[in-house]
């Protein structure tokens, strides 16, 4: 126990040196970290300096209405050595999927961590919170709602991982039977960093955690609470297929010449223009590819309500409902109304004709 405490008190620099990591290795690690955090290489010395002094924070990971896809994404991260360094330097005190402890022991660990690090620990949430009937999702007899409220109280900040925690996600999709809501719908008094995506890019998750670890601050966020470094630009604006959009070259189907030539997928319903994420630059699987590169349009998974966005394969400029029919019915109704109203006009005109009093030369003056 005393050994553990002393470990927690050490800075990351001290920890690394004690493990025999050279300064050069540390610099390499910093370069990779900067790249991961989507920060310019000119920031490497600053990062090195901050990491040197960074202390190991306590992290409590809460999983609510979720599919564990986000955790899977994180643990499948390819830049393993960097992650392991980071996870070595954070204290993941509670994660009911990953931790060995179960039941009361697990909850006790959470409570202990909360007490010990009050005001300093980081809460990571994946999954949405059922707010209709709290009984839809409970852990150890505690409803998700209560656990979130209780855990958030002493947190320094909350990181929501995945669209469910950030915006409600799939549980929130119509008809939303559980009354699922996002963390920010419930917690109003803590800084919340949203890392949406279904799942989020693993490097983005670690990048955000690293930022907090490195600088101890909340990164610059957009209006949806997402870090601007990763969510600052739309997929469309950073897409390598963008030149085809500008030239008007589109794949019309999934197996036409355009698809083979790698043309823009806008017409196949790509939500790149309305989706903010780092997929186009960071890519997936260690920078191998991302959905558009694989020939599939972006489904906009890091945006609120993406599941109810009117169909994954319907282009953004197309109405979500059948307006051909609507227009035809409306036009037919318009013809009927026009004829009816026109008929009253015609009647009025013929009434005026009947009311006509012959004008003679005696009628030209008043």
């Amino acid at each position: 126990m005393t050994k553990d405490l002393s470990r927690k008190d050490r800075t990351l620099g001290e920890t690394l040196r004690s493990q025999g990591v050279s300064r050069r290795s540390f610099l390499k690690f910093c370069a990779a970290t900067a790249s991961m955090m989507a920060l310019p290489p000119s920031m490497i010395p600053t990062i090195a300096n901050a990491l040197e002094k960074a202390r190991r924070p306590s992290v409590i990971w809460l999983s609510f209405q979720e599919c564990t896809g986000c955790t899977e994404s994180l643990t499948r991260a390819h830049t393993a050595s960097v992650e392991s360094l980071i996870f070595d330097s954070i204290s993941l005190d509670y994660h009911h999927t990953l931790q060995a402890a179960a039941g009361h022991a697990a909850e006790a660990a959470r409570e202990a961590a909360m007490e010990e690090n009050h005001g300093k620990y980081l809460v990571v949430v994946d999954g949405s919170i059922p707010n209709g009937n709290n009984g839809y999702s409970t852990i150890a007899g505690i409803s998700n709602y209560d656990m979130l409220i209780e855990t958030a109280k002493g947190a320094a900040a909350i990181v929501t991982v995945g669209t469910c925690a950030a915006f409600g996600g799939i549980p929130h999709a119509k008809p939303n039977p559980t009354g699922a809501v996002s963390v920010s719908d419930i917690i109003k008094d803590k800084p919340i960093i949203n890392v949406p995506g279904c799942p989020p890019i693993p490097v983005v998750i670690t990048g955000v955690l690293t930022h907090f670890l490195t600088f101890g601050t909340i990164p610059d966020l957009d209006n949806l609470g997402r870090p601007k470094t990763f969510f600052g630009q739309s997929i469309h604006d950073r897409c390598y297929r963008r030149p085809f959009y500008d030239k008007g070259l589109f794949a019309e189907t999934f197996d036409d010449e355009g698809a083979r030539q790698g043309w823009c997928l806008y017409k196949l319903g790509c939500k790149g223009p309305t989706t903010y994420n780092a997929c186009a630059t960071t890519k997936w699987n260690g920078g191998v590819s991302f959905p558009i590169e694989a020939g599939h349009p972006c489904i906009g998974c890091s945006e609120p309500n993406f599941w109810d966005g009117g169909g994954f394969y319907k282009a953004i400029s197309i109405p979500t409902e059948n307006i051909t029919k609507t227009t035809m019915y409306a036009a037919a109704a318009g013809v009927a109304a026009g004829v009816a109203i026109g008929a009253t006009g015609r009647m009025k005109k013929s009434a005026a004709g009947k009311a006509h009093q012959k004008v003679t030369i005696d009628d030209l003056e008043k």
Partner: protein, 419 residues
Amino acid sequence: MSASFEKGYNALKEQVDASVASFFSSCVHCGMCSEACLFFTETGAPERTPINKTEPLRRVWRQEYTLLGRLGKIFGFGKKVTDDMLAEWETLIYDSCTLCGRCSMVCPVGNDITDMIRKTREGMAASGHAPPGLIGATKRAVTIGSPMGVKLPALQAQIAHVENDTGMTIPVDVEGADYMLLLSSMEIMNFPEFIEAVAKIFKHAGVSWTISSDAFEATNSGIQIGSSDIAAELVQRIVDAAAKLKVKNVISPECGHAYMAIRWEGPNLIGKSYDFKVVHILELLDDLRKKDRLRVKGRLKDRLTYHDPCQISRRGGVIDEPRNLIGMFADNFVEMPDPGKMNWCCGAGGGVSSNERADEIRLRVFQRKKDQLDAIHVDGMISACSNCRIHLEDGLEEYHMELPVLSLTETLAENLDES
């Protein structure tokens, strides 16, 4: 009975039809019609923009025949037509418009603005907002038979003169003649040479013709003031006379609106097609030319131009005929700028000449014609409308210009080879 606002409003309601509704729906207030109207170009007064002259009709259309306008009327929105409003528009509609039709030719959305002003006059006349001068002329036309008060004896006197001077017989009331000639009062009073010229040409070409003592007047004040009822009555007199004399054709003389009245509005006014054909004198002369029945002696070297009377050219469709005829005797014919269907009005048509109140503006807008003439330096100007002719002479005098104004028929008659 007398004029009332209600009668006028009712008349405007009667005038709205699908074309009027299309026109008003299409107007985008681009103002291009102003540049087509000499009453605007020569005065720069925005209210004289042609489309503004249709405002009473537009308000009636909007409030009576459009859904939004009807709803607006119920809730008290939208501009109403009132008697005061009509009074305000009177000078615009009568004094500042000759119904020349030029605005209808330039409107980019295709509005026949002139037709709408003509229709608006129906409401103006019925509500007692016609100019006194035009009311007087109309009364004379109906009671005496001529807007200028010309009675049959006056015509008979002129005929006697012509017969004495030339030794020709002017056929009057000859049953079964091919053509029945109509005359405008101005021709009878100011240009009796016209009767002589026609007699000479018809004799030369062997045309069977007559003048009716029942209906010799071609002009129609009803058209100008905008009263279809009165116009129809005047047209009916001619139709009856033609039937009585059993003629196959009626000739409209050198008068613009007379042609519009008898040729184009007439059958629609009386509600039935004619049993005879109406030809303009120029159409008939050109027809004779085509049939080689006209021979001219020598050719004129003078530099001559032709003033297209609006109702005959642009609104009447007689455009090529005068040019063909002038080509018979003139070597140096020059067109004015904007000739034919785009010609500028003299400034006195559409009842403006009968409306003393408009004398000043009528002469002011003559500037347009002066500019056109200044551009071509001619020795003489031919026309085919005695109303145009009188006003052209008036205007030339006002602007101190020396230029003979000639009648096409008379000039042709003078140049006939009578050998």
